[in-house]
Symmetry: C2
């Protein structure tokens, strides 16, 4: 852990060796910012946990805000990479006029992948608190615009167009937007309210089987809701 590649031979090809230290600081900072919030997480603690000295943060990120921004960028990059396959598939599907069944299936896949990312995968769980904070509108308004631009807007837009095509309504009516928020809110509840959930259920740890159970419940509800939307829209039209 403290090893961190040989110190001798400080790389002469212009290729920054400090990238490794930089990444380690970011990975240390993300859970701390998530748990304590921007203000309460002290740079001293982050530096200590990352095994570097306080001024190193100034050196790599200019300021505490710079570090926070870097954390957000790190998360945004990995999330958008992980969601790319489903999002791409959904966008291709939206071009042609697919059956409701197919559209609903893709919507469920999308939520399922998001659930994996936010609840299941152990390597990404450390991001969850910071993302939850930002989504709740807390946080210093540094990261949220960035996250929106990088993947939240796209994700939300795809959901709206899917629901629009399922119901035959326009994708950008308040009606559709609100229904998408409510539908996806079911997953959000577990993501943001993870702490409440654990105590409510009497679970002490968050095992993978729990995560899979949650995912199945949420996807089941979403499928139910989407079919209901589809049917009610059809009877309205007919």
């Amino acid at each position: 852990m403290m090893q961190a590649s040989p110190k001798r031979r400080p790389v002469d090809g212009g290729y920054a060796r400090g990238e490794e230290t930089r990444l380690r600081i970011i990975q240390t900072a993300i859970p701390l910012f998530g748990r304590l919030g921007f203000d309460s997480a002290s740079t001293r603690e982050i530096a200590a946990d990352a095994g570097v000295n306080p001024p190193a943060l100034q050196y790599y990120f200019d300021s505490k805000e710079g570090l926070y921004r870097a954390c957000a960028e790190h998360i945004a990059e990995h999330v958008s990479l992980a969601m790319e396959p489903v999002l791409g598939a959904a966008e291709r599907l939206l071009g042609q006029d697919a059956e409701a069944e197919v559209l609903i299936g893709v919507y469920c896949d999308l939520v399922s992948d998001l659930a994996d990312l936010l609840l299941c995968r152990p390597d990404t769980q450390s991001w969850s608190p910071l993302l939850a904070r930002e989504q709740a509108g807390l946080g210093p308004d540094i990261a949220y615009p960035l996250l929106r631009e990088r993947f939240i807007d796209r994700l939300h837009g795809v959901c709206c167009r899917l629901l629009g095509q399922i119901t035959g309504r326009s994708a950008d009516t308040p009606q559709t937007l609100l229904r998408v928020m409510a539908i996806n809110g079911q997953l959000l509840a577990f993501h943001i309210g993870r702490g409440s959930m654990l105590t409510c259920l009497g679970w002490t740890e968050f095992a993978p089987e729990h995560a899979r159970f949650i995912k199945s419940v949420v996807v089941d509800h979403i499928r139910t809701l989407l079919w209901a939307e589809h049917r009610s829209a059809k009877t309205d039209a007919g």
Copy 2:
């Protein structure tokens, strides 16, 4: 606003006149704690906004934590008072074996009243950020246990028993608990993610008509889901 009842005649009957100042400090502190969080909201700012001097907070609440606790108690008291009618009705209903239609109706009423409290009523909207913070598991673990004890547990318990009776399953299986969390999460999404919602919809303010629109969408979804649960449970049994 700065009037605050005549100062002369400082009440001699042992009846604390300071109660009024105390209440004003709490009502000032709640939105500040909600917006900035426990650490970042400074006692100086709270005191200044409330029109008192910093040491007054020490005098009335002992410490910053004491003030936070007092804020939580203030909210808990009013929320449990406001929810009492529906909760009482639901609990009476759970004694007898009512029709699914009636049970679903009560569940919807319950969510509807909660939505009024969290989104619609102007006098209670200042509580929303602090409640959202606590529900997200952020906050200094001072208020959440208190809020749970005072109304969250009861509310959640009633929802679980309603769903249990609707589906004919037990109220305390993980199955039922998770479904209740997912169902209610739809309201939570608007409560906690209020900021995201406003920007997504392009709304600049949060008008009462918006709140009513959101409430109708959420209640509609919940009714759909509860009926689906009821039917699927019946076919399982039959």
